[in-house]
């Protein structure tokens, strides 16, 4: 492997943070404190996770691996739930959606042999799946909130005509699913010509032949399309009901 980074080179790289701080100071952006907190948190979190992953990889225990995957899913659900802006049961909905998206996608990858059931493969892949599901669900929630506000009168008209909740909300739900999936679809279109994504870059950094690295990236692209679609569909279909009361009236 041709990975040349060491503690000294990392220390020199902190000069890059200095550039960001100079820009913030010169332009009076008031972000200096945020950058410092961000940098300190990133270092602490990454060091901690580095040691933790090193331990779990060496342990190579199924239960510990699955527990860590569950922690990733829990954290992703918690963060997606925070973006719901008041949608009831958002954590529960996010957890079910991310758990299903991660499990289904992971099972397909494991059965196809693209990923081996070893901690060093299952955990990073789960992290990628859960984090993309989390982002997609956050977009779905934002869209649901915006559309239920903008199209409130249309929804009321449909309810007054005797529509059930699904019939009154279906255009909003579909729009929300579309918005959750769109970033992944757009990113798939430009992959390789605009960005060289993380998985591929990481493998090439580690000295893997690019023609081999792209196979993993293709797998990741397919995996993210599947996971964002599952997460968006599940979260949108569960969350829209939370905009109504038990008497099938639109909440204020």
């Amino acid at each position: 492997m041709n990975l040349a980074i060491n503690n000294a080179s990392l220390l020199f790289a902190t000069a890059l943070v200095g550039i960001a701080l100079i820009v913030v100071y010169k332009e009076k952006l008031g972000l200096g404190k945020d950058i410092l907190i961000g940098v300190v948190r990133a270092v602490i979190q990454l060091v901690a996770v580095g040691f933790l992953l090193g331990y779990v990889f060496n342990l190579n225990n199924i239960i510990v691996t699955l527990a860590l995957v569950l922690v990733i899913i829990f954290n992703a659900s918690f963060n997606a739930g925070k973006k719901s802006n008041g949608i009831s049961n958002a954590f529960k909905i996010s957890f079910i959606a991310i758990l299903t998206a991660t499990s289904l996608t992971l099972v397909v990858l494991l059965l196809s042999g693209a990923v081996l059931f070893i901690p060093s493969q299952v955990i990073p892949i789960s992290g990628m799946i859960a984090s993309n599901s989390m982002i997609a669900i956050g977009i779905c929630y934002r869209n649901l909130n915006a559309k239920f506000k903008d199209q409130r009168q249309q929804v009321l008209e449909k309810l007054a005509l005797g529509a059930n909740l699904k019939q009154a909300s279906i255009t909003i739900v579909r729009d929300s699913i579309r918005s959750g999936m769109l970033p992944t679809i757009e990113s798939a279109k430009t992959i390789g010509i605009v960005s060289l994504p993380g998985m591929m870059s990481g493998l090439m950094f580690a000295g893997v032949d690019p023609t081999h690295a792209i196979k993993y990236q293709i797998m990741v692209t397919f995996m993210l399309l599947s996971t964002t679609s599952i997460a968006s569909v599940m979260a949108s279909y569960m969350a829209y009901k939370e905009f109504y009361t038990e008497s099938k009236q639109l909440k204020n």
Partner: protein, 217 residues
């Protein structure tokens, strides 16, 4: 004696600690043509929305055909007690999208002949079926919205100042349609209105002041 079609008993409605309706006891018989009048902010629209099950009262009871409204499936009830908004909001892209909706929610195939005949009854030609909803005037939108409510005839039609923003010609078309629905088809009409012509055409008048009802005249 036959039970009233709709009966409200001591209805109250409060929002953020403010009383909007108080002690509303009202009986609506089958075939009634009832107008609800009163100054702005007297609770007329709120009362109509409660009757339509679009809002739930804070206190009191609403019965439909002698059974509390909560015992009905809201979607079934709203198909029988149909509410038409003051300012019509059409959805989708074309008039047809709006007229197919009542069929879609009943899982029935669209009856184009019936839709065209309904359009004709409010003075809109068959070319309107494919027109964009954005190309319609306020009066045309209101007429299309009203057709949406009556393609499947409800038992009660609740009208919330549906002519208030319309010109004289559109008002006349809608009034004539409503009168016809009541007199020839026996549809019970509950109409919130300020218009004296509409008030005079009704057989019962309820006057609301500050959320309270004056005795029916």
């Amino acid at each position: 004696m036959e039970a009233p079609l709709l009966k409200t008993t001591n209805l109250e409605f409060e929002v953020d600690g403010k009383t909007i309706l108080k002690g509303i006891t009202l009986t609506i018989e089958k075939g009634d043509f009832l107008t609800i009048t009163g100054p702005s902010g007297s609770g007329k629209s709120t009362l109509l929305k409660i009757i339509a099950s679009m809002l739930s009262p804070t206190e009191g009871k609403l019965c439909y055909q002698n059974k509390p409204v909560e015992e009905y499936e809201p979607t079934d009830y709203r198909k029988e007690v149909s509410y038409c908004f003051q300012t019509a909001t059409l959805f989708g892209e074309t008039v047809k999208d709006n007229l197919t909706f009542p069929y879609d929610i009943r899982n029935q195939p669209f009856n184009e002949k019936k839709a065209l005949s309904a359009l004709k009854s409010v003075g809109l030609g068959k070319e309107y079926l494919t027109k964009s909803v954005h190309a319609l005037s306020g009066g045309e939108k209101q007429r299309v919205a009203l057709i949406r409510n009556i393609l499947f005839m409800p038992k009660v039609l609740l009208l919330d100042e549906v002519t208030s923003a319309l010109d004289e010609e559109n008002q006349t078309i809608i009034r004539s349609l409503i009168r016809n629905l009541n007199q020839e088809q026996g549809i019970t009409i509950v109409w919130v209105t300020h218009n004296t012509v509409e008030i005079q055409s009704s057989n019962r008048i309820v006057h609301l002041v500050n959320g309270e009802m004056e005795e029916p005249k």
